[in-house]
């Protein structure tokens, strides 16, 4: 099991630790509900150093990215971030990721820790077609980079104390390289997967301890707390954000996963799966990832079956939990065509009962 640059801090703080994607990671500190509410209302810190970072460089970088990802990276400008996915050539998804454009010949891809090896092998397989040399223009920096996500409505205000650069007014999904907390250079991005606002900061492993201490010191007056992977999952689920392995995988298309908005069939972008997915989009999918809230009391969980009012099977839950904000069962799952409309009543098979739920749009904790 690998450690991140912050693992010892988590242990010293008494976090409940467990292996995740090969790393010794904090699952919770003060409790998932308390941590979750802290992020929604104030600010919290996540160690996300386990995420993978891959540099793509050179004059062929954009062409390569346009081929291996589904979104249109040609619209990116310097300092802009884009959510995207890697199509797998069989109509499914290899992983979802973020694409950062540093400049026209320098891009950073940030991928899921649990898919790091799969993603890397996949990219290495396609790199030669674009003249990219593995280890050079295509470079895996995952083991060299530490990353903290500081998320919540007070996050940017607190982080502004640590830099002369202006970060409080940064637009969502942008980034810049700045001097921060006495560290010469970090990548400061207004990204995150909680829907609570805030930032993600990338630094070299050597600077990690300095970053951790400065962030907590700056956030102290605002009520900053460390947050584990448990709350990371409930926060993303309330927002209806997909988790690879749960809500999407190698067997579903981006259309089915509700990721049509990051699948761009624009002229000149000949990406992997384009033909299959374009056809899929035209003809329409048979199942779609949809969110729901429980009307009757119960908590949906992954793999629970979804039924219609007559008791016919119409889908399966891919993610579910009790919303720490609304104290209501919330979830996502693939539903058969005909059950996609907001307000549609569906029934979740929970143990020996079929409990009423309804299809809603995210954020699920605010859905009525």
């Amino acid at each position: 099991m690998k450690n991140t640059a912050f693992t010892q801090f988590h242990i010293d703080l008494g976090a409940k630790m467990a292996e995740f994607a090969g790393y010794n990671m904090p699952i919770e500190y003060s409790g998932i509900n308390d941590e979750h509410i802290t992020v929604r209302e104030k600010l919290g810190v996540f160690d996300v150093s386990h995420m993978g970072e891959i540099w793509v460089k050179g004059t062929k970088a954009l062409e390569f990215i346009q081929y291996v990802t589904s979104n249109d990276a040609s619209v990116l400008v310097d300092g802009k971030v884009q959510y995207s996915c890697f199509p797998n050539g069989r109509g499914g998804i290899v992983d979802d990721l973020l694409v950062y454009r540093v400049d026209s010949v320098t891009y950073l891809l940030v991928v899921n820790a649990s898919n790091m090896e799969k993603d890397w092998n996949w990219l290495c397989e396609h790199a030669p077609k674009f003249g990219l040399t593995v280890g050079k223009e295509l470079y895996n920096a995952s083991d060299e980079i530490a990353q903290l996500a500081i998320q919540g409505p007070l996050a940017l205000k607190a982080m502004q104390k640590l830099t002369d650069a202006s970060v409080e007014d940064m637009e969502y999904y942008t980034f810049k390289k700045i001097s921060f907390a006495g560290i010469k250079e970090v990548i400061f991005a207004t990204t995150g997967y909680t829907g609570a606002g805030g930032c993600e900061i990338y630094c070299a492993n050597e600077d990690a301890a300095k970053l951790w201490k400065a962030v907590f010191e700056a956030g102290k007056e605002f009520g900053i707390k460390p947050i584990g992977l448990g709350a990371r999952d409930t926060l993303r689920l309330e927002m209806g954000f997909c988790l690879y392995g749960n809500d999407m995988n190698d067997e579903v298309s981006s259309i089915e996963a509700g990721l049509g908005w990051i699948t761009k069939f624009v002229d000149g972008k000949n990406f992997i799966n384009r033909d299959i997915w374009e056809k899929h989009k035209k003809e329409g999918a048979d199942k779609m990832l949809k969110g729901f809230i429980m009307i009757e009391r119960g908590i949906p969980r992954q793999h629970y079956i979804i039924y219609d009012a007559q008791g016919n099977e119409i889908g399966e839950v891919t993610s579910g939990t009790m919303s720490p904000m609304s104290k209501q069962g919330i979830g996502m799952g693939y539903l058969k065509k005909g059950f996609w409309k907001e307000g549609t009543e569906v029934f979740i098979g929970i143990r020996d009962k079929k409990l009423k739920a309804k299809v809603v749009k995210p954020p699920f904790h605010l859905a009525k």
Partner: protein, 126 residues
């Protein structure tokens, strides 16, 4: 880890406290710690007579669901009313306000088959 000396325990992390011919059942401090925030408890066995090790209810934390088992045979005569609105009472006070059910024992001899506090401590490496 809190393991009170006046209770008996199961390997599934329930505790039982005898009170005449009745007994109170709950889950241990160790169990609530492992589960994390308890968010939902479902016990729909009121009035039923269940065997030892039969499921009498389920306890759900944010990330997991666990069944709760009868430490010994008995009839469920009362369910803790606080569990519906404030399930986190199990985290705060697992041996007190966070009790699960009261049972009328149908085979008190089975108490001898349960773990002593010392044996339970050994089980959880406390």
């Amino acid at each position: 880890m809190n393991v009170p000396a006046n209770l008996k325990y199961t390997k599934d992390h329930e505790w039982i406290k005898v009170d005449g011919s009745n007994a109170v059942v709950g889950v241990t401090d160790f169990a609530q710690g492992q589960l994390g925030d308890v968010v939902f408890i479902e016990i729909e066995t009121l009035g039923e007579t269940l065997d030892k090790e039969e499921v009498f209810g389920t306890i759900e934390a944010v990330k997991t669901v666990s069944d709760m088992f009868m430490p010994i045979a008995g009839e469920i005569i009362e369910i803790n009313p606080k569990l519906t609105e404030t399930p986190d009472v199990v985290n705060k006070d697992p041996y007190g306000d966070g009790w699960m059910v009261k049972i009328k024992m149908t085979n008190p001899a089975q108490l001898n088959e349960l773990l002593s506090p010392e044996q339970y401590k050994e089980l959880i490496n406390a």
